[in-house]
C-alpha cells in the first residue's frame, strides 16, 4: 500500500500517477486541498489545511484527518512524495 502526499504544484502528475496504483491512498496537504481528485476513491485531506482554506464542501468524499491520523497513515503505508 502506498500513500501519495500531494501538494498543489505537483498535484496533476502526482494524482495521475496515483491513479495507476490500484492500492493508492492519497493525502492532500497544504494547498493540495485545492486539487481536483475526481477519479480517485481513497482520499484524505489534512484538517488544519482544509479549515484555513474553507474548502470542506469542495472535497467530495475525502476524509478529513488530523496530524495524529496522518502519522498513523504514514506508518502503515509506504510514502510517495509529491509535496
Amino acid at each position: 500500500m502506498a500513500l501519495y502526499l500531494i501538494d498543489l504544484p505537483f498535484a496533476k502528475i502526482g494524482l495521475d500517477t496515483a491513479k495507476r496504483d490500484s492500492d493508492a491512498k492519497v493525502v492532500l496537504v497544504q494547498d493540495g486541498v485545492y486539487a481536483d481528485t475526481s477519479g480517485l476513491s481513497d482520499v484524505y485531506a489534512v484538517k488544519e489545511d482544509v479549515e484555513k482554506r474553507g474548502v470542506a464542501s469542495r472535497l467530495g468524499g475525502a476524509k478529513i484527518i488530523d496530524y495524529n491520523e496522518l502519522v498513523d497513515l504514514i506508518v502503515e503505508n509506504k510514502v510517495v512524495n509529491f509535496a
Partner: protein
C-alpha cells in the same frame, strides 16, 4: 514504533512548510515514533534561535526547538548554512546540529518512512 525522516527545504514564514513539518513531526514524537530531520537549502533557516515577530505568540523556531526537546534529531546542511550567511549555525538553537548530506543519507538508511516537504 517507526523511524520517520523529514526533509525540509524551505525556510520559516515564506511558505507554510515549516508549520506542516513541525506539527506532523511533533505528532509523530508524541505517538512514540523516532523522528529525524534534515534541513536542506532554505530549510536551514528554521534552525535560527533569533527570530522575533510580535504578531505571533510563537515564532516558527519555537516549534523546532520543541521537536529537539522531544527527542528529534535535526541536522542542517552545513554547505547551505554557510552559503546562506548563517556562519556555521552560530545562532542556531542548541541541539540543532550542522552536518552534511552523509548525515541525511544515514537518516534515510535508518528510516522506515521518508517525508519531503
Amino acid at each position: 514504533m517507526a523511524n520517520i525522516n523529514f526533509l525540509l527545504t524551505e525556510g520559516p514564514f515564506q511558505t507554510e512548510k515549516w508549520s506542516t513539518v513541525s506539527k506532523l513531526a511533533a505528532a509523530a514524537l508524541d505517538k512514540g515514533h523516532e523522528v529525524t530531520m534534515f534541513c536542506y537549502l532554505d530549510g536551514i533557516y528554521n534552525g535560527l534561535s533569533t527570530q522575533e515577530f510580535a504578531d505571533w505568540d510563537k515564532v516558527p523556531g519555537d516549534y523546532f526547538k520543541e521537536l529537539v526537546d522531544k527527542g528529534a534529531e535535526i541536522v542542517c546542511c552545513g554547505i547551505c548554512v554557510n552559503a546562506r550567511g548563517q556562519q556555521k549555525g552560530k545562532y542556531f538553537f542548541e541541539g540543532i546540529k550542522v552536518g552534511g548530506i552523509p548525515d541525511w543519507a544515514a537518516f534515510v538508511g535508518r528510516a522506515d518512512r521518508v517525508i519531503t516537504l
